[in-house]
């Protein structure tokens, strides 16, 4: 009998190879410090948005609260290394474990809610975590933030170096992509996708749907925690305002604009929104001489237009293109649910 995964999900590695080559070569082209910093942040954000695409695109559950888990990871790393002199690596892992447990236990309750109410509950989680980060001054330094977080060092390689850290972050992104891709291509992935089509159907097949929703929620939170730790060690200073609801909204927008049904969509969205925001900010500050976060006016506009005219995100353009190249595909072209597994990660 043929190998199951080769028959079911062929061509999986093509995208990944292109991606890896791109990541490896970018530092040759990019020399500006500013763009470099952006690329590192993109990697960090991608880790979270990939998790969100698992949660939103596959498990079908929304979250406007992942900045909270990002914050828990960042603060676990920061507090454990600066106040308890713990090894940075141990702190990262402890942070991920703590976040997993918190998200799991919160998730058991929260994921019983649906749609708008679930969205509100995740906002509530975010606000509560933010308030605690702000108010627990002895531990977190309150609104003033927490500095002096050490740079990372991996087996003698100084990750304080921009280029090293760039590769380090993107290697982790690659691992996250592979892990998530494996998950989607397993039976767990099929269970998650089946929830969209018929929750009744999958329950009748003997699967407790809520269990998988909660697990994916916890896993996506763990990704966010990992990203938070990386952020803390990169920037070396954190303050609560980074981890408030607006960042959760930004993450959600990235995933939705890129295309929620695919991991690549999440990454495309992350890149697109980040560069859009940075680009507008750059132009408005340097050429139009307006101050403040004016980029939000374009950003807000783009979100609305995208959701009206391209509800499946930028990645759906690629799907359409691919479809045109395949002869055996039906002529409808109106497939509104392109769960991208074959060509994806």
């Amino acid at each position: 009998m043929k190998n199951a995964s080769k028959v079911l999900y062929p061509g999986r590695w093509k995208g990944l190879v292109i991606f890896i080559v791109l990541i490896a070569l970018l530092p040759i082209v990019v020399t500006t410090q500013y763009v470099f910093t952006l690329l590192i942040l993109l990697g960090i954000y991608s880790i979270i948005t990939i998790g969100l695409s698992l949660l939103i695109g596959y498990a079908g559950q929304i979250s406007i609260g992942h900045a909270a888990f990002y914050g828990i990871g960042a603060y676990m790393s920061a507090v454990l290394t600066t106040k308890f002199n713990m090894s940075a690596w141990l702190a990262i892992i402890l942070g991920m474990m703590t976040t997993f447990l918190i998200a799991y236990f919160v998730g058991v309750r929260v994921l019983k809610l649906k749609g708008h109410i679930l969205a509100l509950a995740t906002i509530a989680i975010n606000i509560i975590v933010y308030t605690i980060l702000n108010g627990w001054t002895e531990m977190t330094g309150g609104a003033l933030g927490l500095g002096g977080i050490p740079k990372l060092n991996f087996l003698g390689i100084d990750l304080g170096n921009q280029v090293n850290f760039y590769y380090f972050v993107w290697i982790i992104v690659t691992l996250v992509i592979i892990f998530s891709g494996n998950l989607i291509r397993s039976n767990v992935g099929r269970i998650l996708r089946s929830i969209h089509d018929s929750e009744t159907g999958i329950e009748a097949l003997g699967i407790q749907v809520s269990k998988y929703k909660v697990l994916i929620f916890a896993i996506s939170a763990t990704y966010a925690s990992l990203a938070g730790s990386l952020y803390a060690h990169y920037i070396q200073f954190i303050s609560p305002s980074t981890f408030n609801v607006p960042f959760s909204i930004l993450l959600l927008v990235m995933v939705m604009v890129g295309g929620v049904h695919s991991i690549w969509g999440a990454m495309i969205g992350t890149v697109a929104i980040t560069f859009l925001n940075e680009g507008i900010r750059y132009i408005s500050h340097n050429y139009l001489h307006v101050s403040g976060e004016v980029e939000i006016i374009v950003y807000g506009f783009v979100i609305v237009v995208m959701m009206i005219f391209m509800p499946n995100g930028i990645v759906s353009l690629f799907d359409r293109f691919q479809k045109r190249n395949k002869e055996h595909e039906s002529d409808s072209g109106l497939d509104l649910k392109p769960v991208d597994v074959k060509g994806g990660a």
Partner: protein
């Protein structure tokens, strides 16, 4: 005599003042094919939903191999070897036929998230097992050539086959089919009936609701007849055809009408 696999004891369902099912009892023995028939509104679907834990009964209970399953959750039944299909198809349209079937076997797999994410050996083996099982069922139900087609792009008859295959792939002991032939043409109906008989020979037990009398008479060992929520008759097809209560329930010649439909 062998132990019954399914015991339905005094099941009653009242919705407000209306009694949809009243004191219905019957048994199904291993290896049997039992049909539940009755005019529209006789309470067949409600009965089915109570047996499969979709609706809690007002009174009475359901036992599977002697174990009381009356208040179980829906997803707890499949692990006990009891599966069901739906009148209005609960397949996964955005997935291919083979993916649907592989999902059907979930109940036999461990589905560990971390094993899957790291693609540990256990996960790879599960995947291979599910795939081979699914290919077997594709062949058995005559879905060859369609394994990589999205289910939502299939015809109604093909989707019904997918649902049926997905339901029996995990080798359940007892399968409940809610109108398995509805919407199928003559050829498809016959094929479905044949598959049911074939699976019975492999040791499965079937309880099904259906309207197509000719097929029922052909494959059913016993028939339970409901009318206005009550059981009015039970017996072999031959007995049921002669039963006066049944003929009255279908208002005289109607039984023949249904027969020919």
């Amino acid at each position: 005599m062998t132990e019954p696999i399914l015991q339905v004891e005094h099941l009653t369902k009242r919705f407000g003042g209306v009694t949809a099912v009243e004191d219905v009892s019957f048994e199904v023995f291993p290896g049997e094919i039992v049909a539940v028939i009755g005019p529209n509104g006789a309470g067949k679907t409600t009965l089915f939903n109570m047996i499969t834990c979709f609706t809690p009964p007002t009174e009475g209970r359901v036992k599977l191999s002697g174990e009381n399953i009356t208040n179980k959750k829906i997803f707890e039944l499949a692990p006990l070897g009891m599966m069901r299909t739906f009148q209005n198809l609960e397949v996964f349209g955005s997935m291919t036929a083979i993916e649907n079937l592989m999902t059907g076997i979930s109940v036999q797999l461990k589905n560990r998230v971390f094993a899957a994410g790291f693609r540990l050996k256990s996960a790879r083996e599960e995947e291979q097992y599910a795939y081979e099982k699914a290919m077997e069922l594709i062949e058995l139900t005559g879905l060859q050539g369609l394994e990589h087609t999205l289910v939502e792009q299939m015809s109604y008859g093909q989707q019904k086959k997918v649902e049926f295959a997905q339901t029996i792939i995990s080798n359940p002991r007892l399968v409940l089919l809610d109108e398995p032939m509805a919407g199928l043409n003559e050829v498809e109906t016959e094929a479905m009936a044949d598959t049911i008989l074939q699976m019975r020979d492999r040791g499965m037990t079937f309880l099904f609701v259906e309207h197509k009398m000719a097929t029922i008479m052909r494959i059913a060992d016993r028939i339970v007849v409901l009318d206005f929520g009550k059981k009015i008759a039970e017996g072999t097809p031959a007995e049921i055809q002669k039963n006066e209560d049944v003929i009255r329930a279908y208002i005289g010649g109607d039984l023949d009408d249904v027969k020919s439909s």
